[in-house]
């Protein structure tokens, strides 16, 4: 074979190889694009509306693990919780009561009828009070909803309450939450209807406490109620964990 023939053969092989590679690339690219386009189309068509699949009144299957990406995943747990009898009794020194229309409203600290007044407190007032609400390190995680409201009897503060929003991701769950703080210097009664299997006694911030866990995850009412001398501090949450309420209790008691 002469040199020119050899050169031509090499050139032919080189050109064929390059052409084949280009062709293969085009075929691979087209196939890749076609398959992805097909998948995209079928995915868009299959996108379901954001609606629950469980029927009304459904309760959780025993042992089932909830799929928290499923719309309405938590509703069967709320349904089951609502069917349970509510706890009534003494827990960690706190008299927990469900709603009971026969229970008369009770006196607060011997305050004679007609002598109590409600007052909105300023932050200066609040700092003076022995049962004030100071969230310390958790102040940045919450924002007050309205001013604290105090009940006074003959100029003596007997109860105090304030509501807070909990910022997303700060209450132990991914979303936002709410926090209600009730402080009282008189009495150990608290009305919070919930089933017995969500209540437990505990110790929080060094004090005996009645602890209520949410229904599931951070859904449903949770609470930590501390028994304090002649009164209590109750922290009630929605969309938050018990661990978050314990942190709040520790800040308030600090």
């Amino acid at each position: 074979m002469t040199n020119p023939d050899r050169m031509n053969r090499r050139r032919t092989i080189l050109l064929t190889g390059v052409g084949t590679a280009i062709l293969a690339g085009m075929i691979a690219g087209s196939s890749f694009a076609l398959v992805r386009t097909f998948h995209e189309g079928s995915a868009a068509q299959a996108e379901p509306p954001l609606q629950p699949t469980a029927g009304p009144g459904a309760t959780p299957l025993p042992g089932a693990t909830p799929n928290t990406r499923e719309p309405g995943w938590y509703v069967p747990y709320l349904n089951a919780d609502s069917k349970k009898p509510q706890f009534q009794g003494r827990l960690a020194g706190i008299d927990i009561r469900p709603f009971d229309s026969s229970v008369p409203a009770e006196d607060a600290g011997g305050c004679p009828p007609g002598t109590s007044t409600l007052r909105e407190l300023s932050s200066e007032d609040l700092n003076k009070e022995s049962i004030g609400i100071r969230l310390g390190n958790l102040a940045g995680a919450t924002s007050p909803v309205g001013p604290p409201v105090a009940l006074e009897c003959d100029g003596r503060l007997v109860t105090l309450r304030q509501f807070f929003d909990v910022s997303p991701g700060q209450g132990g769950g991914a979303g936002a939450g709410s926090l209600k703080v009730f402080r009282s210097s008189v009495g150990h009664r608290f009305w919070l209807p919930a089933p017995a299997d969500r209540w437990s006694p505990g110790v929080v911030a060094g004090r005996p406490a009645a602890v209520l866990k949410p229904v599931v995850d951070t859904v449903g009412t949770s609470a930590v109620i501390l028994s304090e001398g002649q009164g209590y501090t109750a922290l009630v949450g929605e969309g938050v964990t018990v661990e978050f309420l314990q942190l709040v209790a520790e800040e308030i008691e600090r």
Binding site: L23, A24, A28, S30, S31, F32, A33, V35, R36, H39, E40, A43, P48, L50, Q51, T68, P71, G72, W73, Y74, V75, L78, S82, F99, P104, A105, E106, D107, A108, P112, G114, S116, L118, R119, V145, G146, P147, L151, V158, T159, L160, F163, F164, D165, G173, G175, A176, G177, S178, F182, S184, V186, F190, L192, P193, A194, V216, G220, Y232, V240
Partner: protein
């Protein structure tokens, strides 16, 4: 040579198909937006306007009072772009200490279980704590009405210096916006803003969310 080209083509097609299956287009869930307007839980209207404690001289605050009701309802008009008819769940809670002993709440959770907001119906007694119900939405929108309790005359309690049967309706969480310009009053609604079907102007609170 032809055999080589044919084999390369088939092989590259297989590679393309395989890669297309392994790396599909990832479509994010379409953004769903919801809005809820909350309406008076009672029927009548008291004159103290937006207030906190409803004690004269009625300092501005987060609540409206509705008088003359016996039965109190959570009432809302919801809409959403999810393609379904539901916006979320309402759940009744009853929480009370020694300061005004009738605090009934409706907590609003979205369809994925995220807490969204809370409405307090004060001076309302409820034996329905823990009950849960669907809050309707959809396009163009739909209403929800759910019984939550009945008003209580508080003065029998020395701890609650209020008079008269009424519900004190307040947004206590979730950053609900209050209607300060066209809120329900007797000049607009007479006895009930809720009963003015088709006129959804006179809401009390509103809440928007999306995911």
């Amino acid at each position: 040579m032809r055999r080589i080209i044919l084999s390369a083509s088939v092989l590259s097609a297989l590679v393309g198909v395989t890669l297309g299956i392994l790396f599909p287009v990832t479509t994010s869930h379409a953004l769903s937006a919801f809005s809820i307007q909350v309406y008076p839980g009672g029927n009548g209207y008291l004159s103290c306007g937006w207030h906190q404690t409803c004690l004269s001289p009625y300092p501005t605050g987060a609540a409206l009072d509705f008088g003359d009701p016996t039965w109190v309802y959570f009432r809302s008009y919801g809409s959403g772009s999810s393609g379904g008819s539901l916006a979320g769940q309402g759940r009744i809670a009853y929480v009370s200490g020694d300061q005004c002993q009738h605090l009934t709440y409706v907590d609003i959770y979205d369809l994925l279980g995220n807490y969204r907001s809370e409405v307090l119906y004060e001076h309302v007694s409820s034996g329905y704590a823990g009950y849960n119900f669907w809050i309707y939405g959809g396009t163009p929108g739909s209403t929800t009405e759910y019984y939550v309790g009945q008003t209580i005359d508080e003065p029998h309690s020395p701890t609650c210096p209020f008079t008269g049967m009424h519900v004190h309706e307040q947004a206590t969480g979730g950053g609900m916006s209050k209607n300060t310009s066209d809120y329900p009053d007797v000049s607009k609604c007479n006895s009930s803003c809720w009963l003015l079907k088709g006129n959804w102007t006179y809401w009390v609170f509103t809440k928007l969310w999306s995911y």
